[in-house]
């Protein structure tokens, strides 16, 4: 079988989606860690694989694939192992709908907080202003340049942050309601929507402790713990190298009480 190589950062957000999908399918792959805070994703070696300079990317033999959700769909269709898409066409539609909603509406709002409070300040502390300016100038996608500038120099506007905060609140309520309808997010079986959603939501009890906890979102907590118990999830999170990944251990607690919003930001790598 042709060799599979995955270029990824921490098991989190976009990188974590294909990582966990590969683990669930039982596909052997070469893990290639790209340190995002060290700007590995803009180095020539990586740009030769993905000229866009974003993570993740996967190669399968001579094929090169990008876009985390689309990679997951490829992984599910191409390899043997448990099917992560159900047979029913309406269920598959619902899975795709939720993944698009999370990828394009909800996740960017979470990541705006993550970039403002974690990615930007950490990268600035590690490299200093001059080196960062030079790094940003080398980013191939103009919209990623803008994002990095805003994150590093604290330029997200209050209106932008407020809108992201609003979406996080709405999105968490939507997830809670949906998980009240069935065991898994978008169908009656564990699917790519759950893999996607876990990567978005696993640290919410830490980063949004006022919005996601055993009192206000019991369905979300049940769902997160069920995914955390899966052997593939355990294996996947072992590939993390920073405190970001170890946040997942919060799910070992049987009861997580509500906490103040301010405790979220201070505890958190989001």
């Amino acid at each position: 079988m042709a060799q599979v190589t995955l270029y990824h950062w921490e098991p989190n957000a976009n990188s974590g989606k294909p990582m966990l999908a590969l683990m669930e399918k039982g596909v052997q792959f070469d893990s290639h860690y790209i340190d995002m805070l060290n700007f590995d994703q803009h180095k020539p070696e990586y740009l030769a694989i993905n000229p866009q300079g974003t993570i993740p990317a996967m190669t399968h033999g001579t094929r090169v694939l990008v876009e985390s959700t689309a990679i997951m769909e490829y992984v599910n269709a191409e390899f043997d192992g448990p099917d992560l898409m159900p047979a029913n066409a309406q269920d598959r539609w619902r899975i795709r709908w939720w993944m698009k909603f999370m990828d394009q509406w909800l996740a960017p709002s979470f990541s705006m907080f993550g970039w403002k409070f974690f990615v930007g300040p950490n990268a600035l502390a590690a490299h200093g202003q001059d080196k960062i300016e030079a790094q940003i100038a080398r980013i191939p996608l103009p919209e990623r340049q803008t994002a990095w500038r805003k994150a590093v120099f604290g330029l997200f506007s209050e209106a932008e942050m407020a809108e992201s905060g609003r979406r996080i609140g709405v999105g968490i309520q939507m997830l809670e309601a949906e998980l009240g309808k069935r065991e898994w997010l978008a169908s009656d079986q564990y699917s790519l929507a759950d893999v996607n959603g876990f990567n978005l939501a696993y640290a919410m009890p830490l980063s949004q402790p006022h919005l996601a906890n055993d009192e206000v979102t019991p369905n979300i907590m049940r769902w997160l713990r069920a995914i955390y118990r899966r052997p593939a999830t355990r294996e996947c999170w072992k590939l993390g190298r920073t405190p970001m990944a170890s946040r997942v251990e919060i799910l070992e607690q049987d009861y997580i009480p509500p906490r103040d919003e301010s405790e979220g930001i201070s505890s958190g790598v989001r």
Partner: protein
């Protein structure tokens, strides 16, 4: 399983889904609704409205199946294809990934731009002409706060120059992408006819009049537009129009990427 497809004038995502329905051979009842009257937000017999309320696409078609409102034109097209003839998606996983990537480029970059330009040209005058009470009544039926804000911006004629210029660039990029993709003489975007052809056609056909420079001198693109238009499924969709130029009917679409 009774299916009802609520669609706007055959343009944009409504056209893409109507064409996919025709190709699929699936039996669904089609009902044209007036998107600019807000009809999409008050559909009867919807017991699961979430996807209609919170969909990223904005005023796209809604397929109601067993009370569940299904939205997002690419995914409705996949559903119809998988429920019917199963001819519009590559069987090979990599070719399928390529089709999905193509559709994402269209829905994420071209669609917001096309909807923005289209709304400025044709939806703005309609919404601006509504009286305050009528518009308020309409907008309170829109569940999503950000979609409601896009309606309000269209009515107010709030189309910043920077976003207009960016939208023209994105439409131009999409037109060029089609022209380049056809360079090897292929008939359809992915080789065989797929959902990508209809999704792309839906968003681009109405741009020929609005951004003519994007299409000028692109013979392969023009040939492809004519081939898609000639498909019986597209002809049947266009026959559902209630206006002479459905390609100039627009309603608020996907948002322009918030990250810039």
């Amino acid at each position: 399983m009774a299916m009802i497809l609520y669609h706007g004038e055959p343009n944009g995502p409504s056209l893409a889904v109507l064409a996919a329905l025709g190709e699929s051979g699936v039996d669904a009842q089609c009902r044209r609704i007036d998107l600019l009257a807000g009809a999409r937000h008050t559909l009867p017999d919807v017991t699961e409205p979430l996807a209609r309320d919170m969909g990223v696409e904005g005023e796209g078609p809604v397929l109601v199946v067993d009370g569940e409102a299904m939205t997002e034109s690419v995914f409705i097209a996949q559903f119809l294809d998988e429920s019917g003839a199963n001819t519009l998606q590559p069987k090979d996983a990599y070719a399928h990934w390529q089709m999905l990537m193509w559709c994402r480029r269209i829905t994420e970059r071209c669609a917001p731009a096309a909807a923005f330009l289209g709304c400025k040209a044709s939806a703005q005058p309609v919404l601006a002409g509504m009286d305050e009470a009528a518009f308020t009544a309409l907008s309170t039926t829109i569940a999503s706060e950000d979609l409601r804000a896009r309606w309000t911006a269209v009515r107010a004629g709030n189309f910043p120059d920077e976003q207009l210029a960016d939208s023209v660039t994105k439409v131009t990029d999409a037109a060029k992408k089609v022209e380049d993709q056809l360079a090897d003489g292929r008939e359809w975007l992915m080789g065989d006819l797929t959902i990508a052809d209809f999704e792309t056609y839906g968003w681009l056909a109405g741009m020929v009049d609005l951004v003519p420079d994007a299409f000028a001198g692109k013979d392969r693109l023009s040939g492809w537009l004519a081939r898609v238009a000639a498909r019986p499924s597209v002809q049947a969709a266009l026959a559902r129009a209630s206006v002479p130029n459905p390609q100039s009917s627009w309603a608020p679409g996907p948002e322009i990427n918030r990250w810039g």
